[in-house]
């Protein structure tokens, strides 16, 4: 599972429209960073297992095919884009429903990898929700693949104050954090070989979905209000770093019992 996201960490001044809406045209898109780490872990499983293949699924507009091409040039075997106006406006619940229905169509899947969260939402919800819909266990916050055999996977998880090593039987869903290994680079031969490949677009009719559970209609969360972040300007005293100025500042802070 991967997502093409606006690069919110490099937001320019023109990223917001004057009315407070997001100016998507002004934002470059990237392969969601943690999804790349998840792809690397999937490729490592493939490296260590006979006959394994990696398929990448994403949901988004047709241009999201860019990340499928990218993933294939890095080593993925196949991939497709869930793209349909009926998916639009989905929150994490409707998104996870669509993705889980698509995964069901793939037939036999042993391990599903995804990034812990996407940088445009930071919710970390889609992974566990897909696992629940497929009724399989989940391992979140994965940072390292420790062992793999044909029945089970062993993963080290990164928690707030330490680590945990867990073993799960397949099928299982794993979400990978930013502590995971960086993804290998695109391979020039693979890049050229698949340059002309058409990336498959899958619509809502081909995933055996209940239309009421897709898109805006299938999303229980609604945005009530959006406010632009405006900096509250305070009375700010600007000081040059002279001894007199710093002396006065420290004296004031001591007098006011702040220091």
């Amino acid at each position: 599972m991967a997502k093409q996201v606006p690069d919110t960490h490099n937001v320019g001044a023109d990223a917001m429209n004057p009315d407070g809406t997001v100016n998507r045209a002004a934002l470059p898109t990237v392969f969601n960073p943690e999804d790349l780490k998840a792809l690397e872990m999937a490729l490592r499983v493939k490296d260590q297992t006979d006959g394994a293949s990696v398929t990448v699924v994403t949901m988004g507009p047709p241009r999201a095919a860019e990340i499928i091409k990218d993933a294939k040039s890095r080593g993925a075997d196949d991939g497709f884009v869930l793209s349909d106006a009926r998916f639009a406006g989905a929150d994490t619940l409707a998104t996870s429903y669509a993705i889980s229905q698509a995964i069901k169509q793939l037939g036999h899947v042993d391990i599903i990898f995804g990034g812990r969260q996407a940088i445009d939402g930071d919710t970390a919800q889609v992974g566990p929700q897909v696992a629940e819909k497929l009724e399989i266990p989940q391992i979140t916050y994965a940072e390292e693949l420790m062992a793999i055999d044909d029945k089970s996977i062993t993963i080290r998880r990164r928690l707030e104050r330490g680590t945990e090593v867990v073993k799960a039987a397949m099928p299982v869903l794993v979400t990978v954090t930013s502590a995971g290994e960086d993804c290998r680079f695109p391979n020039a031969h693979r890049l050229i070989r698949q340059a002309k490949d058409e990336i498959r677009m899958i619509n809502a009719d081909s995933i055996d979905a209940d239309m009421d559970r897709l898109g805006l209609k299938g999303s229980p969360t609604k945005v009530k209000k959006i406010e632009n972040v405006v900096l509250a300007h305070k009375e700010s005293v600007v000081l040059e770093p002279t001894e007199a100025a710093l002396n006065e500042l420290s004296a004031t802070l001591i007098k006011e019992h702040i220091l």
Binding site: T140, Y141, K167, P220, I226, V238, E240, S250
Partner: protein
């Protein structure tokens, strides 16, 4: 009765985690506003004492599931017990910590119940919502407020039609406050069903290495924080010296932590901790909105920065234009003189 329920996390010492106490304080306010009970769910092993320690925070009823298979936390056993409890008791609101536990469990529960879940809320209020499309007004629903889109916008999210309304909140965002030391609640034991056996076998913990938290800057009265502009881990040592002199704790921005200048526990901001000290000294910090979200409630803010136009200066009470590496030693000397 549709109450407010807080899912409580346990520390390594089997005590209620701070984040859960903070949520109980917020949950109490919501329950009082709605005229319903505040309930807590405590799942673990030998947790009766921990559950009873919740009463002073205004918890009316604590559901306690006591079973060795529930400790330490694993997704499926907790999911099994909590999802059944919510189905049976039908709370109107359920709150989780936005921790590695809450962010693992809450989405799975939301998916199962097919209800909405808002991650990383910075504010929770009760209010009404008018739906422009179906012309319906929803009273007394949970307004879930969170920064979105890399912190460039603040969104208010509602779940008008589905119940429960669920949200996660990061540690330190809400204040933990004792309501009444003598507040009396009750324990309601939850029978752990045989179905737990299946959930128990799915994922096995082979080993755990959890350190007790050493660095905790959340409660600091004075914070000296450094950004990427500090330049190096060595330069960060000056911040430690400065902090030591004035009795402060050292904080950092995400950029400084990512660059390896200091430990991750010191990170302040949307993805780190939220602090409200009486004095915040920002050194070499430009002031990205994600960082400001974690410190803008500080009573006084001093910015030391070479860039007069750094965004942090807009929220600073004092801005010192200069290189932190030279300004800080000067300031330290002045401070020592003034103490005499």
């Amino acid at each position: 009765m549709n109450n407010v329920l807080v899912y409580c996390e346990l520390s390594e010492k089997n005590q209620i985690a701070d984040i859960s106490l903070e949520l109980c304080t917020k949950g109490r306010q919501l329950a009082t506003r709605l005229g319903c009970k505040l309930q807590a769910a405590v799942l673990g092993c030998d947790v009766k004492a921990a559950a009873e320690s919740l009463y002073p925070y205004g918890v009316d009823e604590a559901y306690v599931a006591d079973d060795r298979r529930l400790s330490p936390y694993r997704t499926l056993p907790h999911f099994d017990v909590l999802s059944k409890l919510i189905e049976k008791e039908q709370p109107q609101i359920v709150l989780f910590g936005a921790s590695s536990v809450g962010r693992d469990l809450a989405p799975r529960i939301a998916s199962y119940l097919r209800c909405g879940l808002t991650a990383d809320c910075t504010s929770l209020e009760i209010g009404s919502h008018e739906d422009a499309k179906n012309k319906k007004t929803y009273d007394d629903i949970l307004l879930q407020i969170r920064p979105a889109f890399g912190g460039n916008i603040i969104a208010t999210i509602v779940c008008p039609e589905t119940r429960p309304q669920m949200a996660t909140v990061r540690e330190g965002v809400m204040k933990k406050e004792i309501l009444d030391a003598n507040y009396k609640g009750t324990i309601i034991p939850v029978a752990v069903e045989a179905s737990l056996d299946k959930a128990d076998k799915a994922v096995e913990i082979l080993s755990r290495e959890i350190e007790e938290q050493k660095i905790d800057i959340k409660g600091a009265q004075i914070i000296v924080a450094g950004g990427y502009g500090m330049g190096s881990k060595e330069n960060f040592q000056l911040l430690h010296q400065f902090a030591h002199l004035i009795g402060a704790s050292v904080g950092a921005t995400r950029a400084a932590v990512d660059a390896g200048f200091c430990e991750g526990e010191r990170q302040i901001g949307q993805t780190g901790v939220t602090v409200r000290p009486k004095l915040y000294i920002a050194c070499g910090i430009s002031g990205a909105v994600q960082h400001r979200a974690g410190m803008e409630q500080s009573s006084k803010i001093i910015s030391i920065n070479t860039d007069p136009d750094a965004p942090i200066n807009a929220i600073a009470d004092y801005t010192i234009i200069g290189d932190a590496m030279t300004v800080i030693p000067q300031f330290m000397a002045c401070y020592k003189n003034n103490l005499k």
